[in-house]
Structures are given as C-alpha cells and as structure tokens.
Symmetry: C2
Subunit: 519 residues, 2 copies
Amino acid sequence: MPGLTQGIHRGRMLRPEHLAVIDGERSFTWNRFADRVARLAGAFQSHGLTHGGRVLLLALNSHRSLECFYAAMWAGGVIVPLNHRLSRGQLAAQVADCAPDLIVLGEDFAAMATDLRAGVDSVRSVVQAGDGTAPVGMASYESALADARPVPDAGRSGDDLACLLYTSGTTSAAKGVMLSHTNFIANTANTVSELGLSEQTVHLHHGPLFHVAAAARLFSVTHAAGCHVFLPRFVAADVIAEIERSGITHATFVPTMFRAMLDDQALAGSTLPSLQVISYGSAPMPEALLDEMMRALPGARFVQSYGMTELSPVVTMLGWRDHLPERRASGVLRSAGRPVLFARVAVFGPDDQPLAAGEAGEIVARGPNVMQGYWNRPALTAEALRNGWMHTGDIGYFDSAGYLYVVDRLKDMIISGGENVYSQEVENVLSLHSAVSQCAVLGLPHPHWGESVHAVVTLKAGAATTPEALIAHCRERIAHYKCPRSIEIRELPMPLSGANKILKSTLRDEHLARTPSPT
Amino acid sequence: MPGLTQGIHRGRMLRPEHLAVIDGERSFTWNRFADRVARLAGAFQSHGLTHGGRVLLLALNSHRSLECFYAAMWAGGVIVPLNHRLSRGQLAAQVADCAPDLIVLGEDFAAMATDLRAGVDSVRSVVQAGDGTAPVGMASYESALADARPVPDAGRSGDDLACLLYTSGTTSAAKGVMLSHTNFIANTANTVSELGLSEQTVHLHHGPLFHVAAAARLFSVTHAAGCHVFLPRFVAADVIAEIERSGITHATFVPTMFRAMLDDQALAGSTLPSLQVISYGSAPMPEALLDEMMRALPGARFVQSYGMTELSPVVTMLGWRDHLPERRASGVLRSAGRPVLFARVAVFGPDDQPLAAGEAGEIVARGPNVMQGYWNRPALTAEALRNGWMHTGDIGYFDSAGYLYVVDRLKDMIISGGENVYSQEVENVLSLHSAVSQCAVLGLPHPHWGESVHAVVTLKAGAATTPEALIAHCRERIAHYKCPRSIEIRELPMPLSGANKILKSTLRDEHLARTPSPT
C-alpha cells in the first residue's frame, strides 16, 4: 500500500487551488499546504531529524499540528504527538522513552522545553510552533519554514513506522503504540466508504490529535482530498459556530460533547444543515442522548466506531442505516456494529479459541490495521499479539448477525461465586438512579466468593441517597449476584487517567488501604 | 492485507441467512454459499489441485463460476478463467502456458475437453460444471461437491497469486497477467466508496468473468457482503427483466450494451428504479449515448472507470457528481476521471520523466493494484514495470484538476511529418459521418512524412460515400495534418481480436501486401 504522504500528492493533483486547511482566519490551498509540508520537512532535516527519527509534538490542534504530522513523515521520520493533559513527569518519561531528534512545542507549552529535554541526549533542536519570536534556545517554526528549501518526499510506506502514540494506561506505565503507514492506510480503506469521505468533505478537527481517532481521521480526510478545519480544542459554542461558518460536513464527538452541544443555546437556533455525517465512539453512548442529538440534527447521518489505538483504530462500525427508526427495535444501537471491510474480529475464550455467537469472551482482531507492536516492549508485544491476533482486553460477544456487543474491560470484570459480573452493566444500572453523577464498579477480594461487587459513587450536586437505597435500586433491575454488596458514596472527585477515564485501580487501592482484610 | 476469501468469512458473519447468490431459479444464502465453496475446494484437492496449482475455467457466467473462483483460492490455488470466444488453437496455447492441475468446463464447452488437455501433462482431472451426468472421463461438478468434505480455507493472501488472466493482445501472443490477492483487495479499497457497494448491493453480473472488470467486481461485491446475481451472458431483454425481477442495484455496461438496452422495447416501460449505480468503461463512451441512457434511468448514478488488466483494473474514476448537468460544460465527461484513492497515476514522456498538465505522453501507474508480472515472461514484465511504474501503452494527458484524458493507444499513434496524430481523434471525426459504420485509422510507411494517415472504413447498410467526401468531412473538423491522406472503403467485416477490438495490425499487413511500396 502507498504511504500516507501520497494523500498530499493526490490532494494537490485533484484540488490544487481548493482549500486543504482552514484554521481561524488562516487557510491554505492544497498547493500551499503541500509546499509548506515540503519546506517544513526540509527545516526538520536541517534541524537534525534523521531517517526514521522521531519528531515529538506537544501542542493544541492547529494547521501547524497537521503540517508537523506530514512533514515528519515527508522528511523520513515518525511523528509522536503527546497528550498535553499529562503531568510533566509522565511527559518526560515518554520523551525519554521515544528519544526524539526534534521537539515541537505549541506556544502554550514552550515553557516546558527545558524540563522535557533534560537528560534526553537525542534531542537536536526544539521548535516553537507559533507566530511570535521563539524563546532563546528554540527555533521559530515560521522562520525555519520560510528559510527552508522544499525537500523531496522520502516516500515512506508499508511497514515503515508513521506514528508513535502513547496509550495512557489505567493500570501501568504508558506504552508507545507503533503504527505504520499501512496501518493507517488500512484504516482509511476500512472506513472511508461508511463515513462518506470525499473531496466534498469539510471535516472539523476539534479532538486532540494525540488520540488515535483524531490522528487517523487526519490521514483519511487527506487521502480523500477533503478539507481540514481546526479548532484548538472542543468548546461547544465554538464548534457550533465553526460548523456554520465553514460549512462543516463531517465531525466526530464523544458522548459528553453531545451533551455539551445540546445544552448550548446556539444549537437551539439551527439544525446545522451542512452536517452530513457525525461519527461517535470512544465511550458507551446512552441511547436517550443519541436520540436527542439525532432529533436536533435531522439532516446528519450517525455512525458509530469501535476500536483502540493498537488497531489504528477502527475494527467495527455501526452504520447510519442501523440508526434509522425502523432498526431501533432490533437493539443493534446497543452494539458496536460489525467488522469493517478488511479487518477480522472474533471473540475468544480463555483458551484462545473462537466462541460461538452469543458467548462472551475477549475481543480479538487481526488485519492490516493491527499495530507493529509496543515501542521497546517486545514481551508486551508478544503477549498482546499472540497467534497473530491483537488481544484487546475488552469482553464482548457477537450476535447471530455479526453485531458486536462490548460488555466490559477484561480487567474490570468481576468473578464472584463463579459468575462473571460485568462492571459496565452494573454501572449502567447505577447511572439510571437520579442521584448518581459518576460511578465505578470493581471487585474486592473476598474469602468465600473470590471477589465481591463493590461500587464507588459520586452524587449530583444537591442530591442525597444511601448505599442501601442504591443496592435496592439495583436489585429491582439486575440479578442479585450482580448487585453491589457494598457501596461507597464518595465526596472527592473520582481519580482520572490522562484520558479522563476513572482509575478503578486507584479506587481499589484506596479502599483496601483503609479497610482491614476480611480474612 | 487480507486474502480474497476473507470476504466470504465476512459475508457469512454479517449475512448468514441472507442471499449471497441468485442464478435464475437457484439462490444460496451466505451460509450455503460458503459451505459449497469449502466443499468444492475439498473436491478440487481430491481431484488433484496442488498448493499454488491452477484451476482452469471455461464456462458461461453462473453461480458455479463464482464458486470455482473462490474454491480454487480456498483450496490454495489460482483461478484461470479463459475467454470462450477464442479459437481452439488460442485456448490450447493458454492451457499449455499455464499448465493447470484441473480444468472445469461449462456444459457448453464439455466437448472441448480432449482438445484442451491434449499434450498438457499437468492436468489431473476435468470437471464438467453442469446439472447433468458428466461425459466419460470427466467428473461431475455437483456429485464431486456433494461427495466432498468441506476443507479449511488455505488462507492465501498478500502477494499470493489469486488469478491468472490472459489478455487477448491485438499485436502479440496472449500474456497471462498475474494478479495477487492484494492486487484485487486494493482494487476493492480503491472503488468501493465511489461505487457505493455495501451489504445492500444487489449486483448483476452479465459480463464475462474472464474479463478483469467482471472478475474484480466479483471480489468487491463479496467483500462488501452484497448479493451476486448471474446471467449467462448479456442479452438486453434478459438484463432488463433481471433488473426488475431481482431488484438489481448495481451493474456495469460497455457502450454497445447501452445502445442495445435503449433499443429494447422493455426499457420503454420502466425507469428501472432499483438501479442505484451504473458503472461503465472499457471503451470510449459517446456523450450522446450516455445522455440518452441517463435520461432513460433518471434514478441511477453513473460512474466511469478506466484501467487495464495489469492494474486489477481501475486507476481512475469519473464520479457520479461529475455526471451532473452542472458539470457538463467543464468537459470532464470526455475524461476518464481522476486517480482513485490508493493508486498513483502519471503521464511520462519518452524519457520516462513526468510531464506537466496538458502535455500528452504515456499513462503510467503504480500502487498495490499493479500486477505481479506476466506469467513466464520476465523480460516483458521488466519492460512493462520499469522503474516500478506500470506502463499502460495508452497516451493521455492530465488537465490542471487531475482529470485524465486518454487520447490513443501508444502503438496506434501516428507520427507524420514530426507531428503526433492520435488515431482515436481521427476515428471520432470519421464516426460522425452519417454513412460510416466502423472505422480504423492507422499509419502507413511514407518516405517523406515518416508515416501517412490512412483510414479503413465500413459503411452502414444502404449508405454510400467516397474517400474524397470523407477526407473533406475530416478537413472541416480537424487540422489538415491529422486528416487521412488515403481511405479504403471496405466491403468485408473488420478483422477483430478475441476481445472484439479491431485488429489494425491485420489491416496494415493486408494493405501493404497488396500495395507496391511507395519507395
């Protein structure tokens, strides 16, 4: 398969004088975008980027982030976008792990340069991606680009590494997921038809580009010769205004963004008719929220994606037809959809053998979208990719028509009295209680049952309830053995990972630290 | 990338009890289709198919042809569909060239068994694909399938050879084009979005499966989990009736089929509303004919494809949006469209360097859809694929928006007085004359001009004209140097290749044989 930069050559060929990029008041045609990438690649090389070397990027979304992604590859290197929500210690560990040749920092992060490069001998230069003059010791992005000569595309492709993405890891140190050109090309091939991406597409990127979903979408939109529109981050009112201003046709949201948009006054005045396709995923979508969003945007088609960083990322999609009212009764809206064109997805039992439809086990996948491995972690790689299948750590089952239902993370499943209890099912039931804001269900060691079901709950402002009332609420709705045997109502906020997921391991440790062992 | 048989696994997973195949009164669900393929693969193995061995197929279109394609690959082999329009001598040469393990003959071709296998030691068995009892010395398809146990999918993929397709070659002996699993998977990835193939697709296959366009479409429809509908051959009334009977959503036609359908009374009574997408290609499409077809089928989107066997086959497409009335003035309807997602297409000069937009040269392509080579022809392969680009032998140019205009075959271009004359341009002008039925323009050796432009013309029944009148007709429309200096009005039918193309080399030889050299 071709490399990702081929998308730029194609875009320039098909749409030379059409817009490739819009970012606030700035915009660039395909010709100008391609020229800037070729020059930035030259600047990267002259500032010390070697063949196969890493360009580390820490920035909010902008046209410069997009240019860095492509210039790193164009110059023969690898882009490593870091999560700016992480602590300095976490970021420094990732810099040391990937040993970049170059560091590019957005203006908001320039002050971290010294900390990040401390003790990392590989770094040749630090570039500040902004408009102003760079601080001492850093190169200025625009000056470097203006001074550079455009260089030829290095033509990386196939299994060449394109991108190193650190997964935040709720249980262990972050791992660098190695994704190749073919990995992302396969994701484009797997999704472009269902998403309806084409040169008519005007795609809003508001999600952070260090997340695989946003990064992969950059590549797909480029390859389809669509137009990229950037917002630095998700702010509901800004998103709504940009959709109207730029005639956005495609965007991706997670459930909390749906809520924020619906709660914004700006949405009351418009159905945002330019929107053609809205994709969503990354977290379970409450059906009522989806309904509300579909009513608010009657002209848009809704498509759900399921996957993970190690899968570049999409392996199943729930297409827009499955969102139509006549499909509602089938229950498929609660599924993650069905395998995309060129990925194989299966459900394996503990013996790594496929299970029949209806039987829950670990979701596994294989295909050209499966990662090359974890950076510098051969043992973890071998474990995750055993027998050629990527083991997702998610539990799910297929129905008889190939719809995948994800029920829990493997590590979050509780085994109590020999029965499997899926923490997400219990959390879904707890969430229905009017007083509950957030909840986490986890297993505690238990001498008789093996594990017992425990819940930690935070309440909505002004609401009140008791553990007993919540347990009674659960018993009315799910089997007795699935109901929490103990519930903690927590005053503090939930501990969150860098990706804003509740850290159940921290909750468990805290609980065990202050509770005498039952044995 | 996955192998082509993965499409069957996916179809069976997504649509187990929906129809995969319709052929007259017969139909098969995905479960049954997959079971028949696995059994037929077992039968092929027990009848002598070795790993990587060839299964030669000579048959009209039917569900059995589809099964043979997939069973050959499922069993670890290669399918070689031959052109039943060729002479016995031509067919025998191809059998000897590919040295198959098995020969499968449709009922109409069973009598050729002895001729075809004569002297070809590799052949272990001959199977008759039909309902009746097989002749002595041949196995019966249905009995063999019923007796066989389903075997596991051999899992061929990547660069493994999937299909050997003989190009009929108007100038030389037929060549076996080696197409791999990845080649056809890439073609699916390149075309599925523009064609809108999905599990909702009901695709009519009436075109011969030994042609790459039809073979590649089999694979794409399977991968999309669509439904295959077969007719043994193109008959306009049958095609129209089948579209109505089976609710066909997708079909492919060449220009002469458009004419035949429009001339059929059955089309006057219906707009065939089930049709969503009509693809066309393989020969220049007169704009008036396309217009007429679009008016007759107002509910269908029209998509043009350009490519060749060696490219699996599609490298450019003219999308349905470019067929809309508002795009008409742009002239893009006369183009072959623009490069598909994952193929690179360029125009090279005689020095194999890229030309600028507007400059005509040889069309070249590279990408995962480019063939593995010509079977047993390393020198021809090296010549065609020099520098990694497939040299198509077609002349064309790109406009400034990436639309490719194909002007002639390289070997048909005439160089007269240092000027390039594209035979197709002259033929297009001659065709506009009301008396002309068919025409061929070619170069004759000329002592002063290098070549002189010569035309051979057949007239419509009852029509009359003179060479002088035709030359005057041309001079009114194109530059003087492009106009024929001599015209032969031919009484006999044009000599045709196996693919029904006019054999200009034969016309040239005939002319030179009866004309004294001008020197």
